[in-house]
C-alpha cells in the first residue's frame, strides 16, 4: 500500500466518538438512532464482522422525556434468578435510582440480539448530566443531531425581547384574572 493510500485507509477505518445530547428527547427514538452508530451501519463499508462500530457519548440522560403517561405506566422487569425474585419497576422509580438505565435498556433492546451486542454496548457511554471525564471528552470528534427540537424557555429570553414582542391583545390594567 502506498503512503497516500495508507493514510486514506486509516481515515476510513478510524473509530469515531460521537456526542449526543439526550435533553428532552425520547429515549426510545434516540436508541433507534444511536444503534446505527454503535453497529457501524451508518458507513458504506459496514459488515457485522468487521468491528466498524463507533463510540457514542450520551449526555443529559437525566433529562430524557418519555412520551405520554409512560413514566407512570412503563415497567421494567427483573428477576434475580432466585425464587420470588421477580420485580416490576416503574420507569420513574428506575430513573430515580439510576438515571442512565432507561436509555441503556432502550439501546440494548434495539440492538440485534447476537454476541456482538455486549461489545457494542461497551462502546456506549451515558452520563446523567453534561460532566464528562476529560479522557472521554478528548476523544469526542463529532455530534449527532437531536431528533426533537428543543425550544428555548420563556424565562431564558431577555426581558426586553419579551416586553417588546408584538401583541394582538392584552388585559386592561385593572382586570383581575381569576
Amino acid at each position: 500500500m502506498s503512503v497516500a493510500k495508507r493514510v486514506q485507509q486509516w481515515a476510513t477505518f478510524g473509530r469515531m466518538w460521537y456526542l449526543y445530547d439526550a435533553k428532552w428527547q425520547n429515549p426510545l427514538d434516540s436508541a433507534d438512532k444511536i444503534k446505527h452508530y454503535l453497529a457501524g451501519s451508518h458507513k458504506p463499508i459496514y459488515h457485522p464482522l468487521s468491528d466498524c462500530g463507533d463510540h457514542v457519548v450520551v449526555i443529559n440522560s437525566h433529562d430524557i422525556a418519555l412520551p405520554g403517561d409512560e413514566w407512570e405506566k412503563r415497567v421494567y422487569f427483573h428477576h434475580t434468578g432466585y425464587a420470588g425474585g421477580a420485580t416490576w419497576t416503574l420507569a420513574w422509580e428506575l430513573h430515580k435510582t439510576d438515571s442512565t438505565m432507561i436509555l441503556r435498556k432502550a439501546v440494548y433492546n434495539k440492538l440485534d440480539g447476537n454476541l456482538l451486542r455486549r461489545g457494542r454496548m461497551a462502546r456506549l457511554h451515558i452520563f446523567p448530566d453534561d460532566k464528562i471525564p476529560d479522557k472521554i471528552l478528548e476523544n469526542v470528534s463529532a455530534q449527532l443531531r437531536q431528533l426533537r427540537l428543543v425550544p428555548r424557555r420563556l424565562d431564558h429570553y431577555p426581558q426586553e425581547v419579551v416586553h417588546n414582542f408584538p401583541k394582538l391583545f392584552d388585559w386592561p390594567e385593572e382586570h383581575v384574572i381569576r
Binding site: 446505527h36 451501519s41 451508518h42 458507513k43 458504506p44 463499508i45 459496514y46 459488515h47
Partner: protein, 117 residues
Amino acid sequence: HFFGRKQNCYSIAIKYVHRALRYGVRARKIKKYENRKLWDTRLTAGCLELGTNYTNMKSVMDDVGIAIDRKTLQNMAIWEPRSFRALASLTKAKEEEKGLNCLGGPSSVGVVTRGML
C-alpha cells in the same frame, strides 16, 4: 476444521462431515439473501451520508432508466464515491419533480395536460 475425535475417527467424523455438507448446500441460497441485505444496508448508509434516501434513489433510477444493480452500486459507494455522489445529486434533483418526500404530489413536467391542470 473439526476438533477432537471428530477430525480423526471415521464413524464420528462422518456425521459431522454430512452436516457440514448439508449446511454448505443450504448456504448457497442464504448467501444470496444475506449479501443482498448487506448491500441494502450499505446503500442506505451511503445515501444518508449524502442527504438522500435509498428508496428515493431506487425510485429515481427506475424512472430515469439507470439499471445498475445493488452489487455494483454498493461497490460504487465504497470505491467510486464521486460517481455515487453524482447519482445522489441526480436523486435529489429528480425527487422533487416526482413528488417524493413532499405533500404536493408529482409535478406535471413532461405530461400533456392541455392547460387543464
